[in-house]
Amino acid sequence: MIDYMEKVLRSFELRTGWNRDNSYENIMATSENLLNFDIPTGLKCQVSNRSTGNTYSTFELSNNKVINGSLAYIYTNCEGLDKYLSSSRETLLQDASESYRQITPPHQYRYSRKGFESTSLWHGRMYYPSSTLEAMVVKRLNPETQLVAKCLSSLAHTSVLTLYLQKDSGRNCQEWIASSNEGLLGYRILHNFTGSQSKLNTSLYNNSSLSLGAEMWFGVLNTSPACSTTLRYCTHSANTGRPLTLTLSWNPLFGHVSSTYSVKTSSGATISSKYDFNLYSIESNLSFGCDVWRSGVQDIKLKKEDSAKPASPPSIERKAGYPDDKLMFYHLMAGSSNSQKLLDDLNVTFAPSLHKIHQERSNIENYESSLREANFTSVWRLSTSLRDRNLKVLWEGKYKEFLISAGTELTNTPLDVPTNSIQESKTSNGFLRPAKFGVQLQYSM
């Protein structure tokens, strides 16, 4: 379940035209969402509110052995976020829950550079009773750059400051990161090969994207390096229009190779699998995760159709703003009168292929619209891993005006035994025990 504050941040990014998926950090977002989803611990209640037009607040109480609370406030000078934000009563479950990330090819994703204003977002969250402060400032410097400063300040422990400078030119996204924690310095880059549709034209209607990214890290204080490189390919199956994502990442330092395959098999189900393999130690791991969405009654959906138009997923919103239909041949429409004739000729000539394109695209778009308009009421998520021998179960759903997520993690490894104890070998006695259990309630207005 995405927190309200996180949703505000994402709305801010959407509003200012920042593509979250075009970052190397989120290159494996789909499989992460499906395999390593977060499970709440204890009982957690969140009440969120948009107090004024520019400020948002969240109050959270959690009971995990002791009662903790936090107060969070966000101020942003970016107008028009309400188009992307909705209260927990109106929001769609697929917007509130993280699942399959549909990657929009960058050539379809253009944000208007004309009306860009330098906007910023200020976030502060104070935890009680430890009085730890999370502070964050996100500033859009220009259409291509964003500066993020995150700070964790606590009076008892050392404070950590992390700075992100991100530059996204569509085809390339570069990030420079510096963190005061262990003096960590990092650079990551993501390159999209299908920046324009003319390349890799196996199909004329090209909705696939191929991206290659890399990251390099160096901890100055502990002199430990890290690096990895990842290839991601997203496409839609031509027949059914179902999206699938493949990633292959490699850590050359430690010889770690992991490949994931995620596919949305229907509008209500996603399957992801991940295979890890270490070239040096020949250790391997196979993880599997899926989610199943259950839709509710149809009339609520129809009622929402009218009112909640702005609540539709923003990626679609963006696409709708762009003359998508003329994507293939807009360069042919060069003003002159006989161009129409040429167009007709072309239409006749390429009729079969155009028809094919249309069919493909309609497949995909039908699929996407069905996904968008579906009114899901709950989702079950399962993930398991062979090496860790665990099973994670998460249920997320809407009940009345609350967004509820409840989950547990079952494992058969002993809980309290530290990793470096010698009794490790004699564990696995077959049955699973809950290692973690929690319920989260979220209400926002």
């Binding site: 509110n49 107090s51 520019n54 400020t55 200020w122 502070a135 300040s153 606590s154 404070s159």
Partner: protein
């Protein structure tokens, strides 16, 4: 401050700088949320009262 050689900074000034640093950190720590709220208050046209700004409860 400890890594600076002593000929650059004397002990007292080092101590003073450390004190100032700590003080400013404390101020920033506790002043951050009021600052965010002030920004929200100052940039809202109708200048809402403090309670509606502070309260996370949506009823007001």
């Amino acid at each position: 401050m400890a890594y600076l050689p002593s000929f650059i900074l004397s002990d007292e000034s080092k101590e003073r700088i450390t004190k100032i640093f700590n003080l400013s950190q404390t101020v920033a720590h506790y002043g951050w949320l009021p600052f965010v709220l002030y920004l929200g208050w100052a940039h809202t046209s109708n200048r809402p009262n403090l309670f509606s700004l502070l309260s996370p409860l949506p009823s007001v």
